[in-house]
């Protein structure tokens, strides 16, 4: 279980990026975080990943406080960030250098099969399409078997079709891995949030904080065209509207 308690972050320049964020994510749960840009979503993920330090508050996994990068937490960024000098298989195995060769190879092969790229194992990253590269990044994060996988707008740089394909793919992987990893995914795309998440967190800016939490009680696989999906979409949209600074002034 991932626990975020009273997390605040003020950058050296004085930007108040997060203010008292509290969030608990259960094991195997999928949480989507939506919100306009600048409301601290990336800051939140970076602190959870141990890449940045909070000004106050703390992050813990199963009661254990994490303050630096931790094997239990993986992260996928908006860009694949593959190492261009390593083959796809070597990229996936990057975090497994401590394992014996045979075990590493087996786990890399398994991860590549899971993201459907077994045939690309010996190809250089430059030879991959954007969607394939992002799948390799997901495989590289998952091969270390983290309890929690953080994804910061992982599909936002991809075209619409590839994005749909990877959303479906991510769910498949999540369902196939046991125990199921906890996923925290930041997205701009409300449909993506509803399609993937058990719970949607809406954030608002200045200072970045949680505006609203909404469970998504739709059976999987979810149908974007279903009326219940549409109702959920409207609910999140209006929650997002309320986070806009102009509107809060009007309603005050």
């Amino acid at each position: 279980m991932l626990t975020i308690q009273h997390l605040s972050k003020t950058y050296p320049g004085g930007t108040h990026a997060l203010e008292a964020v509290d969030l608990t994510v259960g094991a195997g749960e999928i949480v989507a975080i939506v919100g306009g840009s600048g409301c601290g979503k990336s800051t939140l993920l970076r602190i959870v990943a141990g890449l940045d330090r909070p000004s106050a508050g703390r992050v813990s996994i199963d009661g254990r406080v994490v303050s630096e990068p931790d094997p239990a937490i993986g992260i996928v960024f908006q860009e694949p960030r593959l190492f261009p000098w390593l083959t796809v298989a070597q990229n996936v195995g990057f975090g497994l250098a401590h394992l014996p060769r045979a075990e590493r190879d087996a786990r890399v092969a398994e991860a590549l099969a899971r993201v459907g790229l077994s045939d690309k194992a010996h190809v250089w990253p430059r030879q991959l399409s954007g969607g394939q590269a992002q799948r390799v990044a997901i495989a590289r994060a998952l091969v270390a078997r983290p309890e929690v996988l953080l994804l910061d707008e992982p599909f936002s740089a991809l075209d619409a079709f590839t994005r749909l394909d990877l959303q479906r793919h991510l769910l498949q992987i999540w369902a196939a891995v046991s125990p199921r990893p906890t996923l925290v995914i930041v997205t701009h795309d409300v449909d993506e949030a509803i399609l993937l998440a058990d719970r949607v967190i809406v954030m608002q800016p200045e200072p970045g904080r949680i505006a609203q939490e909404m469970p998504v009680d739709l059976p999987r696989p979810r149908d974007r065209a279903a009326p219940a999906f549409e109702a959920q979409r409207r609910q999140i949209m209006s929650a997002l509207d309320r986070t806009l600074p102009g509107l809060s002034v009007l309603s005050a």
């Binding site: 261009p84 390593l86 990057f94 975090g95 399409s129």
Partner: protein
């Protein structure tokens, strides 16, 4: 129909043979000019006294080689280049790595080094002679100065240019400082480093000529001066050819040694981009 297909089978084998010869197209002009000059001198239209025809240059080269002079002078020059290059590369790599890695050190050292770089390197020669005497040391020092700056700048800029986003992936996987350097920084800077080494080597060859003009009793530069003073243009051209061959050879060796580590860079063009 029958004619068409037979025509195409007849022309097809000829094409790959022709395209395989394309890289040699660059030889047409120099070889053509050489042959033309040979003919002009052979026909007596020009004495070839100032610019000897290729046959005379070839004879001079084989003569120099047969007497062992070519090897002797080439070796003297090569030794200077190798020593100067080695010293310049070591100094450039260490200082470039320090200033590239630590902003504070860069603020401390870089302005001075940039100021020194603004000095035309040949201007150091009198000072080097005063300091190091007239034998090998000032020559090697001059070459090292020439090699130093491109290597220093290349290393500094390569390290600064390493993608921070990729370094962050190293942090996510909890790499130690040493592992970060070995597994991420070194491979990331390698292509730029090889480029810097190659331009450093090029300058090393440029400066060895200047160094040997300072006065040398051996070396290809000595052959140049000697040829000028004794009016032997064939010897000058022979030495120039030797410079070209050695320069190209050492550069190719460097590129060849680096190639296994840079396969990921050029394999891009040769293999088709796959699609989703």
């Amino acid at each position: 129909m029958v004619e068409l297909s037979s025509a195409s089978t007849r022309t097809r084998p000829a094409r790959p043979a022709l395209t395989a010869l394309w890289p040699l197209a660059g030889l047409i002009l120099p070889l053509g000019l050489a042959l033309a000059w040979e003919a002009v001198v052979a026909l007596g239209w020009n004495s070839g006294r100032l610019l000897p025809p290729p046959s005379v240059i070839l004879a001079t080269l084989t003569d120099l080689a047969a007497r062992g002079d070519l090897a002797h002078h080439a070796q003297a020059t090569l030794t200077r280049v190798v020593l100067g290059f080695g010293a310049g590369v070591v100094a450039g790599t260490v200082l470039g790595a320090l200033t590239g890695y630590a902003r504070g050190l860069a603020r401390l050292l870089d302005p001075t080094l940039q100021a020194l770089r603004a000095i035309p390197s040949i201007a150091w020669v009198p000072l080097f002679i005063l300091w190091f005497g007239i034998f090998e040391a000032p020559k090697v020092a001059l070459i090292a100065v020439g090699v130093f700056f491109p290597v220093y700048l290349g290393v500094m800029e390569a390290i600064r240019g390493v993608d921070r986003k990729i370094v962050e992936v190293g942090r996510v996987f909890r790499l130690s400082g040493v592992a970060m350097v070995r597994r991420i920084l070194l491979p990331a800077v390698l292509p730029a480093y090889v480029t810097a080494l190659r331009s450093g080597l090029g300058l090393g060859w440029m400066f060895v000529v200047a160094a040997e003009f300072m006065g040398a009793s051996a070396g290809l530069g000595y052959l140049l001066i000697d040829g000028q003073q004794l009016g032997k243009p064939a010897q000058i051209v022979a030495a120039i050819i030797a410079f070209a061959v050695l320069g190209k050879l050492t550069d190719s060796l460097l590129a060849l040694a680096a190639a296994p580590f840079l396969r990921w860079e050029d394999s891009f063009a040769s293999s088709p981009r796959s699609s989703e």
